[in-house]
């Protein structure tokens, strides 16, 4: 038994190491954002944020409040959002759409709800737009919205969208960012 024991121990340790390696989270997981799942039409709460995605549409061109139009492949997300405890630094600073391998950031080429100020207890509405390559309107997209531009250690609202399913319009005029009116 004494002779077998070191070998047995070796096997146990090797097996343990293999298991540990298999279950270990990827690098950077300790900094990962806290994701609150959401569905269209239902409010979701993340840190200092309550947000409702009211609609997801696609369009071949979008127009802003000044009348400027941009032609491309767009995904337009209508959002109602309010802060919870603090207005300090509370803007919709994070808006990303991940489709397959690629991640897209909300456009700043036109005025939208991206980076809009959020008020505790008083919801505001608007839309954010994502510019996609023309072949990207298929598969499941993951939309993440939140306050911090650097979302490490912070909270985000996450919504899955079937991009093949959403209606594609010729042109969408982005609603001006304003108070939410029922």
């Amino acid at each position: 038994m004494k002779k077998v024991l070191p070998w047995l121990l070796t096997l146990v340790l090797l097996a343990g190491a293999w298991v540990l390696n298999a279950v270990a989270l990827p690098d950077g997981s300790s900094e990962a954002s806290f994701l609150t799942p959401a569905t269209v039409g239902h409010a979701a709460t993340a840190r200092n944020l309550t947000l409702t995605v009211t609609n997801v549409r696609a369009a071949r061109s979008i127009a802003g409040p000044t009348g400027k139009t941009l032609e491309s492949t767009w995904v337009v997300v209508d959002v109602d959002a309010e802060a919870l405890d603090s207005q300090y630094g509370a803007t919709l600073g994070f808006a990303e759409l991940t489709v397959g391998e690629r991640t897209f950031r909300a456009t700043e080429r036109i005025e939208s709800f991206f980076r809009a100020r959020l008020v505790p207890g008083v919801p505001r509405s608007g839309a954010v737009a994502f510019e996609l390559p023309s072949d990207a309107l298929k598969g499941t997209g993951t939309l993440r919205l939140g306050i911090p531009s650097d979302a490490r250690y912070d909270g985000l609202v996450e919504l899955r969208v079937d991009l093949g399913d959403i209606p594609v319009e010729d042109a969408i005029t982005l609603p001006a960012t304003d108070w939410t009116r029922s």
Partner: protein, 202 residues
Amino acid sequence: MASLIPTPWLITAGGAVLLAATAAFGGLQTVPPKPVPVVSVGEQYSGSDLEMTVQGVELRAKGGNAASFPDKAKHEKVLAVIVDVVNTFDKPRLASGTGTPSPAVDGIHVDGIDEKPLIAYADGSSGSVWLQPDVPVRLVLSWVVGPDELHDGDEVRLTLPDSTHSVGTNVQRGVDIWDEVVVGATVTTTVQEIPASDEDAS
């Protein structure tokens, strides 16, 4: 006691392996550097995970949609390079890079001008230029030049950047970095002067 490890033999064998390996790769002589490819206007070049196609070089009296503003009193002009860019990386990136030389779109360099250009959307959209993955966009790079530095028909040589991508591991953990910037390709073309009256009409 005689050495049990035949050290002299090992050293000789190691040396032989090293020489054989270098011979396989072309010998111990320095390899002449590869010539930098030449690209023409309208031809696409891929470097720094960007596909860049220079469409033209203009000399403008007024900036137009460019981000540079010439001083009218000093009769300054704007040198504008129009380039179509596609970000082939899978995450959105700023068109401008940090440091000089820059690995990004503002690493496009004009021979004779040291500064980095300012970048703007060709269609006049405002805001910093973010390049979305695989979305083509037309940009205007601009520099302010003096009244007599360049003229219509002058030849200019542009260099397009190339760099290596890596993911930061220490202080910049998880950050995408493009560095080791080199000249990826050169473009030689002539400057087209846009008279002030034409700009007003457009």
